[in-house]
Every structure is written in structure tokens, then in C-alpha cells.
Amino acid sequence: MAELNAIELEGVVKEYVSHGEVVQAVKGVTLDIAEGEFFSLLGPSGCGKTTTMRMIAGFEEPSRGVVKLHGQDVTNVPPNKRDVNMVFQSYALFPHMNVWDNVAFGLKQRRTPQEEIKRRVGEILEIVDLTGREKRRPREMSGGQQQRVALARALVNRPSALLLDEPLGALDLKLRQAMQIELKRIQREVGITFVYVTHDQSEALTMSDRIAVMKDGLVEQLAGPREIYERPASSFVAGFIGTSNLLSGVANGGVLEVGGGRVLVPEREGDVTLTVRPEKITISAEKPDGEVSVVPGTVTEVVYLGTYTSYAVSLAGGTEVTVFQQNAHDARNIAERGDAVWLSWQAQHSYALGS
């Protein structure tokens, strides 16, 4: 590890005093964010993700712990002297300045020569596809355009990291999906480290190289999107990222008895909680053969969702299992409400949560 990390947090804690009581918004976060990485802080509101980001930006001072940028301790350095830039949730564009002056603001503070400002602002406006709109005021622009001005205003300074605080939250779904792809493209083009705060798991999964899932001021899991989805570290992560089925019981000889069925759990004995993703499960009318987990149940709900159909299946013990089946071949549903069915899945798709 000769290369320095773009951002390092070491045991960072943030405490507030609220109504005479000490509240910990962040309870000790340690993580490294590599150069050029697209890193997401993901979690529900109040999990401390925004506070963590604001400590990286310098708007909040940690109560304890160290913040490092490129190996340099910046814990007590004010935001204007940190080599990171932020895209705010509200965009925070200066209303009295036009697009050009907004974007040039950072360079002017650094007393960059006029010609260089001209060149760099022109370049970045081209990257975010706003050439020709230099004289517009922010309020004369659509939400998506304002978003790109905010992005350009931060990126033009070539920061060592770009911090994005739920930047797509105010956009409608279609635009949000387009901007996700756009953001990823821009990040590849400029090669800058992105730290992305969001509560939207699909956003995080789509764009990130790595994700830190946060809960109650702590990091629950830090891994790549695939790992987080396929191998969640806790029932919280399993539930927060996508839909997940939880099956608990006592494993005996590699088998967990659930609702009159047999679930294969290799390498685990005793109390265990498994997660199975809904799209890994197959529904069939006949009991399938082979070395698979097999559980009988009754269909209680069928919801047609276009590309796939969602089935709610009730097991003998009362456990509800969600199953997604691709609508690849047949227009008809595989099962109807009230049908007795068999659920089956490969042994490797049961993932035991850490106890």
C-alpha cells in the first residue's frame, strides 16, 4: 500500500448536546476511501451518513477521532482550506450569480489567472452539457440543469474528492436514473474520488465501487455492491438492501427444518438465521428432485410487476416468503392465490447471517 488513500476516517465520533443530553450522531466510524473510488454511505435517515460526510467536508468538527485527506490530518482544518468539494442536496447555487459566475466561484477564490478560469469553466460546462447557458440564472433552469451546475461548480476545482449529499433526491424517477448513469460517466471522465451519501439502495448499488451501510452512527457493513447484496452482514443490511427472506431455526446435520421443508445449510450447526433473495427461489407445483432446499407453502398474494411477478407464499410455521419469478416465457402466472406450491433454491443461495 504505497499509494495514499484519498480519505481516511479513524474512530470518528460526533456528539451533540440536545436538551441537556449528549446525543451521538456518529459513534465511531473508521474507513478508508481509495483514490478514484466511487464510495457510497448508505443508510436510513438519522444513521449518521450526512454527519460523516460533513466531517469530511469540514462543516462539523469530530468530537473524537481523526480525518485524513491524502494522509494529511485535516481534523481541525476549516472547509475553505480542504481540498474537497461538495454537491449539496439543495444544490446551494448562488441565486444572484449566473451559471458562469457560479462555476468560476471556486477558481476566483484561489486567484486563478483569468485565462485559466475561462478555459477550465468552459471545459467543465462542456462535460456537464451546459455550454451556451453560461448567462442563465439558476432559477431560470430546470432541476436537472441546476444539478449539473452544482456538479460543475464543484468539479471545476479538481478536488481530490467530491462529496455528494443525496444530490438526486429532488429529481423525478426518470431523470434520477438518467443522472445516475451521467454521474458514473462523469466520474470515469474526471477520475476523481466520489463520496456519495444516499438512502436509496438502488442508487448505491448502481453506481458504487464500495458501499458502507450505516445504522445508528456505525458502519454495519463495508463491501462492494455484489457482496453487500449477496452476502449481507446482518439482518438489517439484508432488509435494507433489496427484499430479503429471513429463515431462522436450529440447523442439524447441515439441514434446517422450516415449515415442513428442508433447507440445506452446509458448514453451520445450531441456531442460525438465513437470508434468501426472492429472485433465487423457484416455484413449482411438483416437489423438485436433487440436492436443493425444498419448502412447501401456500400462495397468499400474486402481484404482476411487468418484468417479473411477485408471489407471497406462507409456510406452515406462519413465515412469509417473497418470491420473484421472471415473466420470461409465459404470460400466465405460475401459480394463483390459494395454490399449494413447492419452493426450491440452490444451497449456495442460503446465506447465514453472522450471529
Binding site: 469540514g58 472547509p79 475553505n80 449539496f88 446551494a92 447555487l93 477564490q109
Partner: protein
């Protein structure tokens, strides 16, 4: 037939409303019209209450009465000085009250309100006793202090109203982009609250230049424009006062028009 009559009645109603509106406007502006008109009155007697013909004499002899000129200049100096001081302090107060939570915020808010609701008579009398007991000689300085005190709340309130509509992340964005705290204030905060500051400044200037009640308590031997006019009531107000009033009014109208044009351009 019935439809026609309804329409006719509607038209009549419209006309009545128009006439009524213009009547009110005429009534409201008649004192101003009289003031402007009698600045052109070629009066021969002492009093300036009867129309005696048109003249531009009073415009030529605008500064012919030296006491009046001094009084007007005093008023302008005091208004400018108290406006500058008020705007600086009031903007800081408005920012603090609109943006930050601090100890004594509730008390400060109350005091701001109290200063607006205090009768001028009470404020004047208490300021006089304060200056007397502090052994301060009454002059232009005490008048300025008094004017700062009664206009401060108005500036504070207008600035505060603007500040609370301001997105706090604007200033964070400026800091994030490398601006110092002072640079942030100068380039982002101040321009964003400027409409409030400008409105407060105009208010402070207007309150100061025509104040009589409070000024009359704390003026000592210094005479301001309103004090001079009141003093001349018994002997007859000279037409120069009308001319000066007309000019002050004209400047006010120009500022208001400029402000409206600027607002339209901003929108």
C-alpha cells in the same frame, strides 16, 4: 334582455369602482399636490396659503434663508450618519436573530419588538433623561444616537425577514469552494440579503429625516429641518420649505422607481 341588463349593471359597477379608487388616490395625494403647487406660488403676503400666481422664484432662492439651509443640511447629515450606523448594526442583528440560536436570543427579539412599539414621546423623554444624567451635551450627536435607536428595530426586522428565507447551505457552499468567512459574507451572504438591507436603509433614512418628536427632546440647540418648519408655523412657512419638500419627495419617488425597475429586471 336580462343578460344585457346584467352586463350594463356590471359596467356601471366597474365605473363606480374606478371612480371611487381614483377619488381615494386623489384624496391621499392632495397634501403632496398642495405642497408642490405652493412651491410655485408667487405670494406677496407673509402667509403662503392663498394662490397668487405662478413663479419659479423660490427655486432660485432655495437657499435664501440661511437658518433653513443649515437645518436641512443638519437633517441630511444626521440622516446619513444614523442610516449608516443603523444599517451596520441592524444587519448584524438581523443575521444573528435569523440564523443563529444563542443565549439571550429571546430577550433580543423582545427588545427589538419593544423598541418598535414604544411611543416616540416615551422614547424621547427617557432618552433626554438618560443624556442629562450621563451629562452628555445635546447636539447633532445625541440626535444621531436617538435616530439610530428608533430605526434600528426596523432595519433588524427587514433584514431578519430576508435571512430566514436564505438557504443556510449557500454559505457552506461558499466556504467549501474556498472562500474565507469574510469573503463568504461579502460575496454570498450580503448580496443575498441586499434587498432587505436596502429596504432597511431607506426606511431608516426616511424615519430620520422627518422625525420631530424624539428629536425635539434631544436636540439641544441644534435645529433640524422638521424642527425649523414647526418653529416657523406661527410666522408663516416660507415657500422654500415647499420646494425642499418637493425635492425630497422627488428623490424618494426616483428611488422607488429605480427599485421597481431593478426588481423587474431581477425577476
Amino acid at each position: 334582455m336580462t343578460r344585457l341588463s346584467t352586463r350594463m349593471r356590471g359596467k356601471l359597477g366597474d365605473r363606480l369602482l374606478h371612480a371611487y379608487t381614483w377619488l381615494i388616490i386623489a384624496w391621499l395625494s392632495s397634501p403632496i399636490a398642495v405642497m408642490i403647487l405652493f412651491g410655485f406660488n408667487d405670494k406677496k403676503s407673509k402667509s403662503n396659503t392663498r394662490w397668487q400666481g405662478f413663479t419659479l422664484r423660490w427655486y432660485q432662492e432655495l437657499f435664501g434663508i440661511s437658518d433653513l439651509t443649515t437645518a436641512l443640511l443638519n437633517s441630511i447629515y444626521i440622516a446619513v450618519a444614523s442610516t449608516v450606523v443603523t444599517v451596520v448594526i441592524g444587519t448584524m442583528l438581523g443575521l444573528a436573530l435569523g440564523r443563529h440560536r444563542f443565549k439571550g436570543r429571546g430577550v433580543t427579539n423582545f427588545l427589538v419588538f419593544a423598541a418598535i412599539s414604544t411611543p416616540e414621546l416615551v422614547m424621547g423623554a427617557s432618552l433626554l433623561s438618560l443624556f442629562v444624567s450621563a451629562n452628555l451635551p445635546r447636539d447633532a450627536a445625541t440626535i444621531t444616537i436617538a435616530h439610530v435607536l428608533f430605526s434600528l428595530s426596523f432595519v433588524t426586522v427587514t433584514v431578519r425577514a430576508r435571512v430566514v428565507t436564505l438557504d443556510p447551505s449557500l454559505e457552506e457552499a461558499a466556504r467549501d469552494l474556498g472562500a474565507t468567512p469574510w469573503g463568504t459574507f461579502r460575496q454570498v451572504t450580503l448580496p443575498a440579503i441586499m434587498p432587505g438591507v436596502a429596504a432597511g436603509a431607506m426606511l431608516a433614512f426616511a424615519l430620520s429625516i422627518d422625525d420631530y418628536v424624539v428629536t425635539s427632546f434631544v436636540n439641544g440647540s441644534t435645529i433640524t429641518f422638521p424642527l425649523w418648519i414647526i418653529g416657523s408655523v406661527k410666522t408663516g412657512i416660507p415657500p422654500q420649505v415647499n420646494v425642499m419638500g418637493t425635492l425630497i419627495f422627488g428623490i424618494g419617488v426616483l428611488i422607488a422607481i429605480a427599485n421597481a425597475v431593478a426588481a423587474r429586471r431581477r425577476a
